[in-house]
Assembly symmetry: C2
Amino acid sequence: MSAVIIDGKAVAARVRADVARDVAEFRAATGLQPGLATVLVGDDPASAVYIGGKRKACVEAGMADLHQHLPADTAQDEVAALLDSLAADPAVSGILLQLPVPRGLDGSALVGRIPPGKDVDGLTTASVGLLSRGEPGLRPCTPSGILELLDAYEVTLEGASAVVVGRSELVGRPVAQLLVDRNATVTICHSRTRDLAAVCRGADVLVVAAGKQAIIGADAVKPGATVIDVGMHRTEAGLRGDVDFDAVREVAGKLTPVPGGVGPMTIAMLLRNTLLAARAAAGQGVNS
Amino acid sequence: MSAVIIDGKAVAARVRADVARDVAEFRAATGLQPGLATVLVGDDPASAVYIGGKRKACVEAGMADLHQHLPADTAQDEVAALLDSLAADPAVSGILLQLPVPRGLDGSALVGRIPPGKDVDGLTTASVGLLSRGEPGLRPCTPSGILELLDAYEVTLEGASAVVVGRSELVGRPVAQLLVDRNATVTICHSRTRDLAAVCRGADVLVVAAGKQAIIGADAVKPGATVIDVGMHRTEAGLRGDVDFDAVREVAGKLTPVPGGVGPMTIAMLLRNTLLAARAAAGQGVNS
């Protein structure tokens, strides 16, 4: 039996439509427009593409595009000053500093200037601390997008055995926290895990964010399990993930494709975070 | 075969002796004395006992006891003002606000005023974020004490299967992070975990911080595994832990007793954190 293919494009489109509707309601109720300040330093072509996609989505959702572009040779304290002024600007609901920043700049110190209430990427130390303590806050986009996919396909998390492959700050660690918060029993695997396939075969829900192409084959998947593939690798045959899709689809119950699985969720969750930040700033409840 | 009993008192005494020696060296080298400001609001008898033990240990290690006692009816902003003045005082290396604070005070907001460099309890959102991101910072005392015990008994963590029972902010979550950082494959269990005993039987290293007496029996322990019991329950028969000691000692390879296992480590690690904070403040490298 072949797995149900999780349609990330469709779920992302639904989230984005919901955000657009909620933004319209928010504007009607408050007279305020949520605004996203993307900040790009320099002219890295890949970063320019990513930022372009985020800005376009922001406008399509009815939010203000408050993009800031600085030359590659901008000094650390000038970037910091810009971030501080965005932090203080009530028109700015969310701030996203596109990484990596050019050589010579300390990206981590710059990200640290973004206040938790405007941290729509959910990646500052303060936001990570709030997540880890289970306190309200803006959650990182890819991990919360994964939870959104699981919910959209009605995957049971309560009491489920979840295995996360990869322990990155960006995906592995935060998604493990979110799964624990949803009452899954969570195992975190990584490059030093012994007999990875055997550990993964215990999973009802398997999230793979290892950054290694096709590291998960059919032997690592319990029949009927839900498999979320966060990997993204350019190959001669096109984009591929961390999961051997053709093999695993014959075993898994539900499976994300690459592309079209987790990928589209990241921008959708960024838009939702920007709306949540705008609501919280307007006193409409806590963002979480 | 009966398990090796892990002697927490002996390991804690060794850590405290090491700290005392290092404090003497630090004082000789810098002319500065590390100081711990314990803060007690009100007269809860149990809190008074805990604070008393910490102050005594602090003096024995050659550090300054900068204890502050406020009446139970102190207003939130007065406690906050005291914490701010301690944060600004160069004689204060570490600040510990004893919890719980009296009704009417917001303990979480008060703890949040302690800067990460003086957070010797390692429990503020900022410190939790640093731990979660794997960045240098002061780590919470009980979890780092558990790692100290495992190292003292030469328990292999690299590639080991570790199971943590309990997902509290104080112990379960941070100890899981520390074990992941040490390259263990870590599973986090909790009250909603299905077939807890079966999951625990997969552990080479089992850390039990469930807060339920004798929740772990011999059927939940792999022969030869190392078992760390963080529980502490007063019973008619004396202090007991989360582990059924008499049954598990026949199966485990190494096992902490209650009392005399994890308990003594907490103050020892608090003293070490205070020294690390003093060193970092004096520019002697990063605390971690």
